[in-house]
Amino acid sequence: MNEPTDQGRFGKYGGMFVPETLIPACEELETAFRKAWGSPDFRKELDDLLRDYAGRPSPLTKCERLSEELGFQVVLKREDLNHTGSHKINNVLGQALLAKRMGKTRLVAETGAGQHGVATATAAALFGMECVVYMGEVDIERQALNVFRMHLLGADVRSAVSGSRTLKDAINEAMRDWVATVEDSHYCLGSVMGPHPYPWMVREFHRVIGNEAHRQCLDVLGKIPDVVTACVGGGSNAIGIFSGFIDTEAELVGVEPAGGAAIERGIPGVVHGSLSYLLQDEWGQVLEAESISAGLDYPGIGPEHAYLADTGRARYEKVADSEVVEAFQLLSRTEGIIPALEPAHALAWMSRDREFLSGKTVLLNLSGRGDKDAMQMMEVLG
């Protein structure tokens, strides 16, 4: 995967559509990231943290019983086993380390399901930084456990009460905070979206997923998988694993919730700093996504995914909430792994398209564990 253009574009997507107040901060961040990413010192410090604190590399697990049930070979990249329970920690440790180098003392973040918020609060605690996390009022209710975890970690969790009161509105609030605090705060954005350099920087911080998985597939399977799949909200875990296979023959499949299928139902538009596919009405008002999973409840998608979709290098499927609930139970029952609802989307697609996948080897990025969803699923499953 290449760097975006000087204008921060992947094809025509991306850019830096933020108030002039934030332009110097975004440009400064781009310069700082470029320098850090090329610095052996920074890379070593981050690698050490990923190994000693986050527990990388995450394992690759061959699924005997699930493979038997589905009729094709499934391997899981176990991002659920990272510290804090999801892939989000990769990006957050990178950004927090960078923020520290830039002399910032405060981290601002948005969160949907709470995984990115927990990861940011964790990094803030580790580095002794102040942390404010914006979360939609609706999500605060459905993800009470993660709210409690963030409080334990010393973060100030603030409720976003405007609009749909979910992830989209939490991002608006985080950006408004950053506009006012840009001198001492770093906006620790949680996905491959937002203004340049975020889509590129966050991808680079998650590239470790794909790099490890590529190596592990060669070790464990003796080959590259036929299909690599991941769920997509903003799309950070998907970009992370795709990046390790973009130059291979593997088919890349992103899976969106039916109620937030930006690639299929979206139209190019600008929100939260970049141009990408976006669910919007005919006047450009952003529509509310609807999903059982708070982490995928987002009407847009990262600009590089829009580019991968247009060029045909990746394709994007969508699944219904009911299929996700089944997949959630399927993995729990067959492999003893309770997945987060987000990666259960990718599994739901695999389960539905099992005929197409028959005889193939599929690598699924299991981006998070399901503990956070247990309460919600208790209600759903009665």
Binding site: F17, E20, G163, V179, G269, G284, Q285
Partner: protein, 261 residues
């Protein structure tokens, strides 16, 4: 030709040449009574008026303007309806719209520019379209001579500020503080600093907005700047149910304060 058609920069420059200070109120388009409020503001001595076209995700706006936005959006009022309303509006001062880039992008850049021209709106303020992304829009406005008012922020570097001032037309919108729209108790010291920085490098009108909520603050900033934009404090009058009269009365207080300089 009425001054509504001369454009914002011509009108504001004329005001400056007469030794006056410029007053630009902001009113949320589509809000109950907004057309009467615009007329009342014009009658009360506004030099130009900024009309907000509500957007679902206004990242530069604080709670007051967000709330007015939500009221309008929940009624299903569209940008086209607001433009249509304005076409029949009988005011004799230039008008600008303030909205977010996706509204324009979805409309089509050329189409939006020509729609503004058709209803005699002179300018546009797009707070999430910074100079580095503005070229396609500015190119699209040329045929219709729509003025694009660019924002200069307290964080804008000395390298970028001259480019912003040079490419801005209508006036330079100096953002008075680090933050989003909304009235504040005191005028931020950053307001004077950014106004001074802009005045040093441009002959275009420099108006300060964001954080100007009362006549005293307007007077204070106009000692340095060529005038100010008053948004949230006016929209709050409408939200409080004061109607167009309260807007007219409030604007005339600002007028008096600025005329006393």
């Amino acid at each position: 030709m009425s001054s509504r058609h001369e454009g914002i920069e011509v009108a504001l420059t004329a005001k400056m040449q007469q030794g006056g200070k410029c007053l630009v109120p902001y009113i949320t388009g589509g809000f109950d009574g907004y057309l009467e409020a615009i007329s009342a503001a014009a009658d009360a001595g506004a030099d130009a008026i900024e009309i907000g076209i509500p957007f679902s995700d206004p990242v530069m706006d604080g709670p007051t303007i967000q709330m007015a936005n939500d009221v309008v959006l929940s009624k299903g009022i569209t940008p086209a309806q607001i433009l249509q309303d304005i076409a029949s509006l009988d005011v004799d001062i230039p008008l600008a719209v303030m909205t977010y880039y996706n509204v324009v992008y979805r409309y089509g850049l050329e189409r939006f520019a020509s729609s503004l021209k058709e209803v005699a709106i002179s300018g546009a303020i797009l707070p999430d379209l910074p100079l580095r992304e503005a070229k396609p829009w500015i190119d699209a406005t040329e045929k219709n001579s729509i003025e694009t008012i660019l924002l200069a922020a307290p964080t804008t570097t000395d390298r970028q500020l001259p480019e912003i001032c040079e490419n801005s037309s209508g006036f330079v919108y100096a953002v008075g503080l680090l933050g989003i729209t909304g009235a504040r108790e005191e005028l931020a010291s950053s307001a004077q600093v950014i106004a001074k920085r802009c005045k040093e490098i441009t002959n275009k009108p420099v108006l300060v907005g964001v954080g100007i909520g009362n006549p005293r603050q307007a007077q204070e900033i106009a000692e340095i700047a060529d005038g100010c934009i008053v948004g949230s404090a006016i929209v709050q009058k409408l939200l409080d149910g004061g109607g167009p009269e309260s807007v007219g009365k409030f604007v005339s207080e600002f007028r008096t304060a600025l005329d006393a300089i």
